[in-house]
Amino acid sequence: MSLAIDVQSVSKRFRLYKEKYTSLKERIVHAGKVPFEEFWALRDVELEIPQGETLGILGRNGSGKSTLLKCMAGILQPTSGQILLRGHLAAMLELGAGFQPEMSGRDNIFLNASLLGLSKKQIEKSFDEIVAFAELEPFIDNQVRFYSSGMYVRLGFAVAVNVHPDILLVDEVLAVGDERFQQKCMERIQQFKQEGRTIVVVSHAADVMRQICDRVAVIDAGALISVAAPGEAIRAFRDRLIETGDAATPLPAVEETGAVPLVVDPTGPVPVVADRRVAITGCRLELPGAPERAHVFPGEGITIALDLRVRARVPNVAFGCAVFSDNGHLLFDCDSTMIGERHDLEPGPSTVLFEFTELPLLDGRYTVNVRVQEAGAGTVYARQEPAGTFEVVNPGRATGLVTLPFRVNLKPQQLG
């Protein structure tokens, strides 16, 4: 199997000017002292992409992933190193780049496809297909400036995919149009894969990566961190985010106890102390893989330890716990009385352990709230919101919210 793309120790340096001097006067005034900083967007990147592979490039904003893609596309030239490309290449960096609003959809198809390297004969051959794919038959002779933004990107996508490239480079443009059109785009990408074409996708949507990529390359600060199967690479990406403190809610340093200490923020809206008899003095999230790993795999368990100081005896209490998804949806809420337990709190310090023996969750960041309340009634003695967050990283390829026990059997049917 030969390589479709061979990235050979590619580095790219940008000059970041504090201010850009492009006029003669400014150049003379600032001659020799134009302030700029050197910035290496890519450092010595080595990447081999075999023909027929779908490779994802994952990285946060400014990590250099789009620069790498632009170098592959030949829009930027690397400062050093080189990239070997085998086969006809089309890049979707911006849909409808170069559309002329004054010209008709028809003329724009010809111009755009020609820019992407198609011959006139080839364009004529796939013209109907492009129009049909974009669903613009009635409007194809209208000026593009009267198109809606949806029609515009649909036409752009239709041209780019119907160029039938051997290598397709895609930069975060898969989410265009309405849901049905997105579905269609995805199907076309899948079809490309089946035809054995090479695809490179840049995105920060991990789910898309998992769905379509054979391998995922993770890039950070211009350097390649890992190239691996999607699940593994996505984990490496999340780890890097957490390591560098760029995760949305960074988990604090993990000690050898495996506990994540929680600092109660006095300025925050928590904790609500409804009763002076019970006070929360600490809360820890115990992860099974800590300290090497700050996340949980699907199917593993976690324990939330809640330290209480009790001043006077409180009979018949319930310990409740709620789990929320990243976007605030309640996934689970239960307390000790609901599962048939009865507890009384005696004066002195005690610790409540909430144990989730097995988390059937897939990728995501989850928030946990805990509370101490009167059993069966609404009076809350103390609560901690949030008690902590934890992250589930899925090394497998399933997507969605939860992991369900799942098996597939194929049984040949007995014919009558």
Partner: protein, 316 residues
């Protein structure tokens, strides 16, 4: 890890069949050799056609007269020069309008090319930053557009010649064609060069506008070559080293030559020496030199363009 190549599903053109090893290989690196860039440029000649068509369609879009403007514009410019030089400045040359037209034809090609090409990369920043193609083609498309206008104007010229009942000097038609080629080569080289430099130094675009006004008077378009009063040898050499002079003179010699035979007697009676008294050989040597010089400029422009092209996407 790697997906096995499956046979194509009958999709895509046959020349892109999924047979892997024989696919064309391309290299992206800091230095692409000139030869490869020329090959890529040649491969995108169809794109040139589409870009020229785009320019022609877009330029007069939404105007009432539309395409008529591409004929009307040069005709009106000619009319203005004619009125000014004939009636205000009392030019007594016979068939002066024809003389003007011959010179303007050559000049407009050069002028239109450079005027629009110098800013073309900046105005097409959207494509330059997002699509990979031979960017020289953008500048060349402006030259191509200017060539189209050249042919529109030639149509008007035919009407003119019929109106004045003058035939061009047919023995000089090969020279005219050669001068046209020289004009195109010179314009193309400078267009590619200026478009690249303008990305880094936006003044170029504005400077070119002014420079073109000055250059307009450097060859004898609105005045007669014979009347040029440069007698000092060095000044004369400098004046005659102007490539535009040779192109314009060749155009005039062919199209206007029958009105006033060079060095001969004036058609209108008096003694007029409008055109230089050169033989055909001198014209050919002059125009040939312009072609050679133009090709050198093209080469230089391609080298410069290649050196700076890698940074276009960041500079724009």
């Amino acid at each position: 890890m790697t997906a096995v190549a499956k046979p194509g599903l009958g999709y895509g053109p046959p020349e892109q069949e999924m047979d892997r090893e024989d696919l064309p290989q391309r290299v992206v690196s800091a230095k692409v050799p000139l030869g490869k860039r020329l090959v890529a440029l040649w491969a995108s000649r169809e794109l040139l056609g589409f870009l020229v068509r785009k320019e022609l369609k877009v330029r007069y879009k939404n105007s009432v007269l539309g395409f008529v403007w591409s004929f009307l514009n040069p005709a009106l410019v000619l009319l203005i020069y004619y009125v000014v030089f004939k009636y205000f400045l009392h030019n007594t040359q016979p068939d002066f309008a024809l003389y003007l037209f011959a010179g303007l034809l050559a000049w407009n090609l050069f002028n239109n090319s450079l005027l629009s090409a110098s800013g073309v990369l900046v105005s097409h920043a959207g494509i330059v930053k997002k699509v990979a193609f031979s960017r020289e083609i953008l500048a060349l498309a402006q030259v191509g557009t200017a060539i189209c206008y050249f042919f529109f104007q030639t149509c008007i010229l035919v009407v003119f010649l019929a109106g004045f009942q003058v035939l061009p000097d047919f023995t000089y038609v090969p020279l005219l064609l050669l001068a046209f080629v020289a004009d195109v080569i010179l314009s193309a080289g400078l267009a590619v060069f200026l478009s690249a430099v303008n990305v880094y130094l936006r003044d170029v675009q504005h400077f070119v506008e002014v420079l073109l006004v000055a250059l307009f008077f450097s060859p004898p378009i609105v005045y007669a070559f014979h009347g040029v009063g440069l007698t000092k040898f060095h000044l004369r050499m400098f004046y005659e080293a102007n490539p535009l002079l040779w192109i314009v003179l060749a155009f005039q010699r062919c199209l206007y030559g029958n009105v006033v035979p060079p060095g001969g007697k004036a058609v209108t009676g008096g003694t007029l020496f409008v055109m230089p008294r050169w033989g055909m050989g001198t014209y050919y040597i002059g125009v040939g030199a312009v072609i050679v010089g133009g090709l050198l400029i093209c080469l230089f422009a391609m080298i410069v363009f290649g050196r700076v092209e890698g940074n276009f996407a960041e500079e724009l």
